[in-house]
Point group: C2
Chain length 366, copies 2
Amino acid sequence: MTRVWNFSAGPGALPESVLRRAAVDMLDWQGCGMGVMEMSHRGKEYMSIHAQALADVRELLAVPDNYKVLFMQGGAIGENAIIPLNLIGRGDGADYVVTGSWSKKSEKEARKYGKTRIVANTESEAGFTTVPALADWQLSDNPAYVFTCPNETVVGVEYPFEPDLAQVGQGDVPVVADLSSSILSRPIDVSKYGLIFAGAQKNIGPAGVTLVIVREDLIGHALDICPSAFDYKTVADNDSMYNTPPTYPIYISGLVFQWLKAQGGLAAIERMNVAKAELLYRCIDGSALYENRVDKACRSRMNVPFFLKDEALNDAFLAGAKEADLVQIKGHKSVGGMRASIYNAMPLAGVQALVDYMVEFERSRG
Amino acid sequence: MTRVWNFSAGPGALPESVLRRAAVDMLDWQGCGMGVMEMSHRGKEYMSIHAQALADVRELLAVPDNYKVLFMQGGAIGENAIIPLNLIGRGDGADYVVTGSWSKKSEKEARKYGKTRIVANTESEAGFTTVPALADWQLSDNPAYVFTCPNETVVGVEYPFEPDLAQVGQGDVPVVADLSSSILSRPIDVSKYGLIFAGAQKNIGPAGVTLVIVREDLIGHALDICPSAFDYKTVADNDSMYNTPPTYPIYISGLVFQWLKAQGGLAAIERMNVAKAELLYRCIDGSALYENRVDKACRSRMNVPFFLKDEALNDAFLAGAKEADLVQIKGHKSVGGMRASIYNAMPLAGVQALVDYMVEFERSRG
C-alpha cells in the first residue's frame, strides 16, 4: 500500500492513525460486539462516544460554559440558511462581510429570510485577495449578527485578526464565523464570537457532520418556518440527538479530537501549521515560475492557491505531481491555477514533498 | 471477537461482509492511496462510488426513468419539513394518514408550511395497531400530496398493501411514503408513489444520509423559503453534490446495495424477511408469556414489538438476553415492552437465537 499526499480542499486527508483505529474498531468497538455504525444512538456505547467527542472539542477550543456545542447535518451550505432561520429575527436584518466566494454565497442565501447588507466587500477592488480592516466595516444600526468567513477556502484568504467588534464599539453585535476550513488549526477566543460553524470535512473529520458552537442567549429565536431538525433550540435541548445524528462521522471526528490532543492541542498544531505554510509560501515567493496573488498579511495557512506564470505548463505540472503521488492540487474551477490545502492532517513531510517537486519542476521545465 | 445479535431499531446491524470490506478499504481504496473518507467529492474515485451507488439503488428498486434518486442530509425528521417545503405549494394543503408516532410527528411538522388534514388516524380507536383501508381515507379535494408511513418503526405496523390511489379514483394525487424502516426489504412498485424517502440507518447504511426518490414533475415547486441545500431541484440538478455529500455513509450504503444484489435482489431478500418474521411471530403467538398487539394483517416484517404478559419479568428477560448476546431488545420508551428489529442485515440465525432464548426463558421463568 502506498499512501499519497492528498492536498484536497475537502473532504481532505485524515491522520493515518485515526484511520487505522477505525479499521480495527470496524466490526467490534471495544469488545462490545458491534461496529460503531451499527450502534443505536440511544445505547450506552454510542452515547459515550458522542459525549466524549463533545467534551474533547470543548477542551480543545476552550469553549466557555455559556456556549452550546452542537453536531448538525447539512454542511456549511445548509448553515447558510439555518443561521438566518435561527438568528435573523433577533435584529433588523443581518450584516455580511464578503471576502471570497463562500461568504458571497452565504449572503445570497440569507436574503430568503430577511434583509441583508454587505458591509464590506473585497471582490471588485481587490478580487478577493485581502481582508478589510475592522474599522472599515460599515456596520448597520441593529443587525441580528455580522457574518464573516475568516478563512476562504477557494481564494486562500484568511483574516489576520479575530473579528472582535468590541474594538470598534460594537461588542454587543454577535459575530458569526464560518470556520469550515480553519477550525482547530490554531487557538481562537470563542468568546469573541456569537456563533461558529464548520463543515467537518476539512479540518475535523468526514463529510456529513457540521459543528456549531453557539452562545446560549442566541438560542431560542428561530423563525416559525425553521425546520425542527435545524432549530438550535431543539438540537441543543436534545444533546444533538433530536434526530438520529450522523454517528459514524461523529465517531471519526472524536478520534481526530483525540489525535489533536495527543499532538499537544491547538497551540502545538498551530506551530506545525505555521511551519508548513511558511515552507510552501517561501518556495512560491522564491520562485520565478510560481506566484500567489493574496496580500501577504492575509494569506491562508490552510489553503494555498498558486499559479504557474506560464499557464501552458499547468498540465505537465499536474501530471508530474500525480506521478510523484501528490494529488488534488488543481485549483478551484472558479480561480484556476493550483491550490494546495494543508490542513492539520497534512504532515510537514507532505509539504516538503510538494516543495521538492515544485523546485525540481521549475528547474527542469520552468 | 464475538459479534452480538443486534436488534436495534436504528442505527441497526450491517452485513458483516460490508464491514469487512470497509475495514480493508479504510486507508487505501482500490490502490488509490486514499481512504474513501479522504476523497474529494469531485475526484474521479469518489464520483465513481457515488454513481455506482445511485445506479445500484435504481436497479434494486427498478426505479422508473422519470424519477430522480437523491442523497440528502437531515434524516427522515429533516424530510418532515423538507417535503412540505418542496411540495405543499403544488396544491391546497396536504393530506396525512396517521398510523403511528412517526406519521403523527410528520403531520405536526408540516403545519409550519401550509394547511394539513389528517385523513385517517388509527390512534384513538385502535391505539396504532392497524392500517385503515384505502377506501376509508377521507381525501380532500386538491391536496399537494398524501403522506403515508407504510412501516411504523415504533409500533410495528406495516401496510399490507401499496397505497395505490388509482384504486380509489385519485390516481393524480402523489403519494409520499416514509419508508425509512422498510425500504429494500421487499420489491415495491415505485410508480405508485410520487416521493419515497428513507433515513439510511435502518435498512440502507449508516446514519447521516437520506435516500429520496422523487418523480420529476414534483421537482421545482419549492417555496421561496426552502434552503437551497434542501431544494430537490438544486439537489437533483447537481447530482446530489450541491453541497458536499456525506461521502462515507454513501459509500457504505453502496456496499450494502452490492450485498443486496449478491443476495439475489429484493425478491430474494423478501423471502428471507418473510421467513424471519414468521419464525418470530410464530414463537410469540404460540406462547403463553409473550404477546403482540398488532392486527395480524398489519404486522411489520421489520419491527416486531412484543410484551411479556407478566411485566415484572421484563428486567430478567433483558438481562438474560444480554448474556446470550442478544442486544437492543428493549421496546421504545413510548410503548414499553420489547421490540426486535429484524432488518435485512439480520440473518435467520439471529432470529433463531432470539426465539431459542425466548422459548427457554418462558420454560424456565414464565
